[in-house]
């Protein structure tokens, strides 16, 4: 990591849905303050928000690390939840294991991962069943 990298760290509770999205809101605010183009801010904010919601509703909470340097903004979301058995299937629009209760909270339509893929320039998912999931979202500043 270069010395010119900014790093932000967040702990995401898996027990309190009311707090889901606070980390992403804080990141959005910071990116705005740093003066990034609104389109760049929105790309990162929306994909991170979906990722944070997934950590809460599927992953039992976890941690988010955001790294900013001259080339890119990257967010790493780590949880120690059940993992994703079939990532290709999980990526399909509309595919969801979310409960009726989660749907009542406004999520669980199976659009989260597709949205993340759409808004981030790069989406990498590393998941092991029983161990957890790591998601890496990158937005390139040059515009891709």
């Amino acid at each position: 990591m270069s010395e010119n990298t900014l790093h932000y760290h967040f702990v995401v509770s898996g027990d309190d849905f009311t707090q889901a999205g606070t980390a992403s809101s804080a990141v959005k605010k910071t990116l705005k303050q740093l003066g990034f183009d609104p389109r760049i801010v929105r790309k990162m904010a929306i994909s991170l928000y979906e990722g944070e919601i997934n950590m809460v509703i599927h992953g039992g909470g976890g941690e988010i690390d955001v790294f900013i340097d001259a080339e890119q903004i990257a967010a790493v979301l780590t949880d120690h939840g059940p993992g994703i058995p079939d990532i290709d299937l999980a990526m399909q629009e509309g595919w969801s294991t979310a409960s009726e209760q989660v749907r009542g909270l406004g999520f669980g339509a199976g659009m989260g991962l597709p949205n993340m893929k759409k808004y981030a320039d790069e989406l990498l998912i590393d998941s092991e069943v029983g161990k957890g999931t790591t998601v890496r979202l990158t937005v390139f500043l040059s515009g891709k």
Partner: protein, 117 residues
């Protein structure tokens, strides 16, 4: 139209965001599923929803919207109002149902929005 006119068109009650009432808005989006709202960035400024939680507010904020209208007479609690104030989002409550609220705003001149990059 102005947010002030959104308020009157819906016979709504303003919960917070008095300072935003003179904001000009052109487009709106109605949904209870937040991922659907997040799926397409358009220049919508108003979210009409029956989903009463902080995530409705945060979703609107992520999309750079300025107003959330809660339909079917739902009233936000203090935590939701606090979240809206922090996010710079005006909140209104209307007793109309979703379909009627959207129809009234559409008739009054709001549209569904145009995609932006």
């Amino acid at each position: 139209m102005l947010l002030r006119e959104v308020l009157s068109t819906l016979d709504a009650e303003l919960i917070c965001g008095e300072d935003l009432l003179e904001t000009e808005v052109h487009a709106a989006c109605g949904s209870d599923m937040m991922s659907d709202v997040l799926a397409y960035v358009k220049n919508q400024a108003v979210l009409i929803t029956g989903l009463l939680n902080q995530q409705a507010i945060r979703t609107a904020a992520m999309m750079d919207m300025v107003c959330v209208v809660f339909v079917r007479g739902k009233r936000p609690d203090e935590t939701i109002i606090e979240c809206a104030k922090e996010s710079g989002i005006a909140v209104m409550c209307s007793s109309h149902r979703m379909f009627t609220a959207c129809g009234l705003l559409y008739k009054a001149g709001l549209n569904g929005g145009m995609s932006v990059k």
